[in-house]
Symmetry: C2
Subunit: 287 residues, 2 copies
């Protein structure tokens, strides 16, 4: 399938660059780099890098310029997973079918490796050479974005929240970083304001579609394909779309978000075909 | 005393700017900002901001240009304390005479508030508008700097380490951020290569002097003035200068480092007087 090839190509490019960045890091304790590599190369989908690279390609025909941002965002995403999995947070033992960082390296190292990875992301980002991209990514990962969303998530555990609250939670926790992945690629490829606006909207709707699909997979997915236990959201008293609106309506909402993502791409022609396919893939994927 | 006035002035300027930055942060959960403010305004000495602002002033006569970097570095320093204090790390209940973040807000929030603060530091830094400064600060706080040093610290707990290993540990854990504070101020004030080199050396020696003095204070200090229990390093089986070389030689090493810091300032005239005084202050302070 075209989308599998696209994701595989972008993942390969990203992973090669990530490995090169880490190889060049000076003066680090070996065990720290080992812990970082363990989580960073645990076989993620590399969706965010693919969005950054894909956006740059759609805008300019070349994705190279977005590679530092793609890598930095994947580092930020990975550090957030390492910290989310900690006993004080979600207390998860498995991630992508492998023991989580703190299970292998201990809690202190999982905290520090996450901290270090978050920090080094900005070293990598500085190499992209665009202050606006640095600022947008910091904000998408910061108090009003990913970290803030994680706080909302913790606060809502075991509580009844509204669909609107759940939407805000996800817009912060996962949406902001997905959106900024697309924006970074577009900005680094020197997108026009109109292109940037269209791709931003695409990223926003795609992020929502992705999250609803994620919630659905936690209920209907296959444990092996997913790499984590089924029903873990429910077990942790997390609010999810299926729990809040039922499975049927959740499916409908995910499809609608994917439709909106595709619609946002109207200013583009066939060069955005891969992002249209990606929007479908996000709601139809099995892991 | 001149140095008290200097530190008080720079602290006031930094705290005003920090408060303004945080007030401008959009879309953050209230409790997250509360936790961030709790630790950020817990009454630190603001040594690192004073170094950044002081270096800019020595180079150009004006410290304003270094204010974003001064604030960003203080944010990074504060987040590192929040994480260091966690049960999985140093497990400290008190910091500067107040309950630590996780004691007040819980572990999950202390992790997330630290994460968010580390991230927002780069939003603030992007406003300083200098990619080299962003990269240097990321590296000083990253795998080969502060986070790496913290790993070395954890690994050496309860072990016999050499003076050389202790020096490397501190050069990473506290030295790198102190050094980059001085460098950031100098770089943002457009220091010449010679000025930058001299101020870097100053920062390096000052960092060492500061750390040895810190180790000494943990043994000889007054609990009230210090805001934390005396002998806590020993209780945690941490290697310290007094433990490794005895109190007398530790004092001598601290004085030597302060001398070297002063000597590094030779290319400067009277405009660097405040940094000379600061080198003395660092080894003579009581908290």
């Amino acid at each position: 399938m075209i989308i599998d090839r696209f994701l595989a190509e972008k993942a390969k490019k990203t992973e090669r660059a990530l490995a090169e960045y880490i190889d060049a890091w000076q003066g680090a304790p070996g065990i720290l780099l080992e812990a970082i590599r363990y989580s960073l190369f645990a076989g993620g989908k590399r969706l965010r890098p693919a969005l950054a690279l894909g956006a740059a390609e759609i805008v300019s025909g070349d994705d190279t310029v977005a590679l530092p941002a793609a890598c930095a965002i994947e580092m930020i995403h990975t550090y957030s997973l390492m910290h989310d999995d900690l006993p004080a947070m979600d207390n998860d033992d498995l991630r992508r079918g492998k023991p989580t960082s703190h299970k292998v390296y201990g809690e202190a190292m999982a905290i520090l490796a996450g901290d270090a990875l978050a920090t080094m992301a900005f070293d990598v980002l500085a190499q992209a050479g665009d202050l606006r991209v640095i600022q947008e990514i910091a904000r998408a990962a910061g108090v009003g974005g990913m970290a803030g969303g994680q706080v909302l998530d913790l606060q809502s555990e075991g509580k009844e929240i509204s669909l609107e609250q759940l939407r805000r939670l996800h817009a912060c926790k996962t949406g902001a970083l997905i959106r900024v992945s697309v924006r970074s690629g577009a900005l680094l490829a020197r997108a026009s304001e109109e292109q940037l606006e269209a791709l931003s909207k695409f990223g926003e709707h795609l992020g929502l579609a992705f999250q609803i699909a994620d919630d659905i997979l936690d209920v209907t997915g296959d444990e092996k394909t997913l790499g984590k236990p089924i029903g873990s959201d429910e077990a942790k008293n997390k609010s999810t779309y299926p729990a809040l609106v039922g499975l049927d309506r959740a499916h409908r909402l995910a499809d609608e978000a994917a439709d909106s993502a595709v619609k946002a791409l109207e200013p583009f022609g066939s060069e955005a075909g891969i992002f249209r396919a990606l929007a479908r893939f996000v709601v139809e994927r099995q892991h």
